[in-house]
């Protein structure tokens, strides 16, 4: 039984299943909701199966159609891919359950096919082994994300989506140019092969610049974050959750992967990682300040994403001397943020449904009337602030450990200040959930599934705080972090 379970090509299922059901949802809209939920539910054991395979047999490789590189497409999964896939599966399932109750008929018919398509693109991205396939999946993901953003058809949603589309296309083209340069210089697009062939040359520097710029634009690192707040704030709540939690992480994943294998060993220590660290620090501070100024919840949460993305980049300058700790921290922060931020956006959706608005100062005794929602926001906040016990705390601890051991006081100060600012904007919201609004309004019913989806995702972010040992052990499969220490 176990051998059969292990022999199934889980990687292929992860990509084909959502793709197929997405098309079926498009063709037969009546089946959309039920098929969508079932698919996202089935993705979870598929990821578990893949994890089991990796844990038993080591890194997972699969050549589609039997054709291997350089002309064929290979699937590759190590510990890092697995964790990203797991985050996608969990957040995807939670958001899907939420969406069943959230969307009414007309919007649901458009939502499910595009969401499943996005899911297929995400899974394919995390399973890609070569840089061109990454381009294709990146582009697919971006287009699906833009379409989802524009779903409501409101003025803000459309302009936000348009801005997002232009940014994402620019990013992809820049990335593609970099891919072209790398292929034309070294004759391969496979990441592992490129890692062995690259040497520090003008072509590699140009490729780094282009691909880096493109991916940073897609990850919304300061100062290329301008498109994110309008897009994430005007999209429907479940879409915002997916965008902040997963889509932004996908481009970060690519950047991380390329840095660890191709660019880091060559140019690490030459100022690029310091630059990334500086931009990350600026993102943390700028994003947090902007979040503080917001009067609407969705914008506050969107700016919080800008800040949290900055934390991920603080690992770059620290990694040269303490690779495993710094990268583990970044991955842990990415995972925790995915769960916590998704929960926060779902909470915003609940509050919108409840009161018809998301103005923070007018939240009306939410803690008493929507306790599960308020609890979800509180738990998610614990992770965002980096307070124990939560996944965010573990990530923050590891980053601080690396920074203090290396005497990087600037980074330490940014991390501490970032945490304090996060606490300020988070408790601004929580404080108002206890008080009465000046003008009370008639509450609308919020379906239990929506409240529970938000709560369980937030609980996941907190539980991650207790699972550091097994999760970090998983990341170690494939040894991708220690291999990145700078080559002399």
């Amino acid at each position: 039984m176990a051998t059969i379970f292990l022999a199934i090509p889980w990687g292929v299922i992860l990509i084909l299943l959502p793709l197929a059901t997405g098309m079926i949802c498009f063709l037969w809209p009546k089946l959309a909701k039920i098929l969508g939920v079932m698919t996202t539910f089935a993705i979870v054991p598929s990821v578990v199966g893949l994890g089991w395979q990796i844990a038993s047999n080591g890194v997972y490789r699969y050549a589609i159609g039997g054709w291997s590189a350089p002309l064929g497409i290979e699937l590759y999964a190590d510990g890092l891919s697995l964790l990203m896939l797991a985050a996608t599966a969990l957040v995807g399932f939670g958001v899907s359950v939420y969406s069943v109750a959230y969307f009414e008929r007309a919007a649901a018919v458009r939502f499910w096919p595009i969401w499943l398509f996005l899911l297929a693109a995400l899974n394919a991205l995390f399973l890609s082994a070569d840089i061109f396939n990454l381009y294709v999946t990146l582009e697919l993901m971006g287009l699906a994300a833009v379409a989802l953003t524009a779903l409501t058809g409101s003025k803000e949603a459309l302009t936000g989506a348009m801005r997002y589309l232009l940014a994402t296309l620019l990013g992809s083209l820049s990335y593609l140019f970099g891919v072209a340069l790398l292929y034309l210089s070294y004759g391969s697009v496979d990441i592992a092969i490129l890692a062995t062939r690259v040497i520090a040359s003008p072509a590699v520097w140009a490729a780094l610049g282009l691909m880096g710029a493109g991916l940073l634009l897609k990850t919304a690192l300061f100062p290329l974050h301008f498109w994110l707040p309008p897009a994430h704030a005007s999209a429907p709540a479940p879409v915002s959750a997916l965008l902040s939690a997963l889509v932004v992480k996908a481009s970060f994943y690519i950047l991380l992967r390329l840095w660890l294998t191709i660019f880091g060993p060559l140019v690490g220590g030459e100022g690029v990682d310091t630059l990334l660290g500086l931009l990350g620090a600026a993102a943390v501070l700028w994003g947090s300040f902007q979040a503080l100024r917001q009067t609407r919840l969705k914008l506050l949460v969107a700016y919080s994403t800008v800040a949290q993305v900055g934390y991920l980049f603080l690992a770059f300058p620290l990694a040269a001397a303490a690779g495993v700790t710094a990268w583990s921290a970044a991955v842990y922060l990415a995972l925790s943020h995915a769960l916590a931020k998704a929960a926060m956006f779902l909470v915003a959706g609940n509050l919108l449904r409840f009161g018809g608005h998301d103005r923070i100062a007018d939240l009306d005794r939410v803690v008493q009337r929507l306790p599960l929602t308020a609890g979800a926001f509180a738990l998610a906040s614990v992770s965002i602030m980096g307070l124990p016990p939560s996944g965010g705390f573990i990530g923050k601890w590891l980053l601080l450990e690396a920074a203090l051991a290396q005497g990087r006081w600037g980074l330490v100060a940014v991390m501490i200040l970032g945490g304090l600012l996060a606490a300020t904007y988070v408790f601004k919201v929580l404080g108002h959930t206890f008080t009465q609004a000046d003008v009370p309004h008639e509450p609308n019913l919020v379906p239990a599934s929506m409240e529970w989806a938000a709560l369980l995702l937030a609980l996941g972010a907190v539980l991650l705080g207790f699972l550091a040992s097994p999760v970090l052990a998983l990341v170690g499969i494939g040894d991708v972090f220690s291999a990145s220490e700078v080559r002399p």
């Binding site: 061109f132 287009l143 348009m162 801005r163 232009l166 083209l173």
Partner: protein, 102 residues
Amino acid sequence: MSTAFLYALVGVGLFCIGLYALIVHAHLLRKILAINVMGSGVFLVLVALANRTENLSPDPVPHAMVITGIVVAISATALALTLMLKVAMETGRAELPDEGRE
């Protein structure tokens, strides 16, 4: 300089022209055109340098990449044009509002 590199330089030039136009022009149709020009630039680089060794037959892999890229570009352009039309219908102008903080 060989023909291949000349074409490649033109491709780089197209990329830069497109980038400039994307940033400078406000009208959405021009921005979408700019993206397309940039894309064409990258494709030109790929196709040109597929033929960089003059005596042997051209490398098929960049050609495959360009074909994929064209397909992606077409889908993206279709989406972009539809969005632009909707934005124009909703706001009355085919331009993005100023990127101020809301």
